[in-house]
């Protein structure tokens, strides 16, 4: 059956949202188009009315995930604290796309990589405004290094099957640099 124009827009948004969560939870390859469409409340055949291919969906999903309009401006200390929380560690599907899919996006289409690249640029610029450091150059380094440690830290914290080591990874990355300098 045909569907209203607004419903079409909503369905498309639901597909992208479902895809984003599933991709982060299971990785691009393990997620089926039928999974995505089912989670969006549709049947798999309708997929090609919205996207050219699965690769196209991946690219569009990456673009959506890094849309700056979707994100609040981060404040370095607060951002890092909530990033390196147990909550974020546990909820991959709702969490940071770089931590969940960073290692896989390299092998996706140029469009997908480009979307995440542009998203990262914008994000690092914003993070550098509130990062610790005497001058702009130092703050930029702190933002780049800080976000690298967040991404690597939470990825390792998720990977590890030892809860103590996992907590230690979160804690060490919350403590290092910023907090140490503030108190030391």
């Amino acid at each position: 059956m045909k569907v209203s124009r607004e419903q079409v827009r909503e369905n498309r948004a639901n597909i992208v949202a479902a895809a984003l969560t599933l991709f982060k939870e299971r990785g691009f390859d393990a997620v089926t188009l039928a999974d995505v469409m089912g989670k969006a409340g549709l049947t798999h055949g309708g997929f090609y009315g919205h996207f050219r291919s699965k690769d196209d969906l991946v690219a569009q999903t990456c673009a959506h995930a890094t849309d700056p309009g979707e994100r609040a401006k981060p404040v370095f200390d607060a951002y890092r604290t909530s990033y390196l929380s147990e909550r974020h560690r546990e909820d991959v599907g709702a969490g940071c796309i770089y931590a969940a899919l960073g290692g896989e996006v390299v092998r996706q289409t140029p469009q997908a990589r480009h979307a995440l690249t542009e998203g990262l640029k914008t994000f690092i610029d914003a993070l550098a405004l509130t990062a610790p450091g005497e001058d702009e150059a130092a703050r930029r380094i702190a933002a780049l290094n800080g976000f690298s440690a967040m991404v690597g830290g939470i990825m390792l914290a998720r990977l590890v099957d030892d809860p103590a080591l996992s907590d230690e990874l979160l804690g060490a990355n919350r403590t290092a640099l910023g907090e140490t300098r503030t108190t030391g």
Copy 2:
């Protein structure tokens, strides 16, 4: 045809070595058993003489990759410099398994996760011996934070399609903490 016992051992080692490189280059899902066996110079049917399943191969490969017998003791500064090099960024197949596959191993078998967990413990312990810091606790935090930043930093440097940003990510993580403190 049957094959000598030594040849069998050698073939098995070749399969694991081929798998490790291919997994790091393309991810677990995208690598075919036929790919692995072909790279090891064998045909795909012989696979099940060595492993119970693809999952088993994944677990064995993770165990092999983190075998401490295979790795030299890292010295913090030197290790970080070579880790965050262009060479390491370019050669994923020969590089660090945590950076290449860390995000995917979470979804693999418990055995695979466990192998990488034990490997990480041993490695962090070793890295903490030469990490910067006044006391043991500080050095351990520096090791955890330093390695997190290396893993996240090189992952982002590989993902990004902008060479300038990629170099900046490597440089920022080489400079931060250690080098800054040494010169400042």
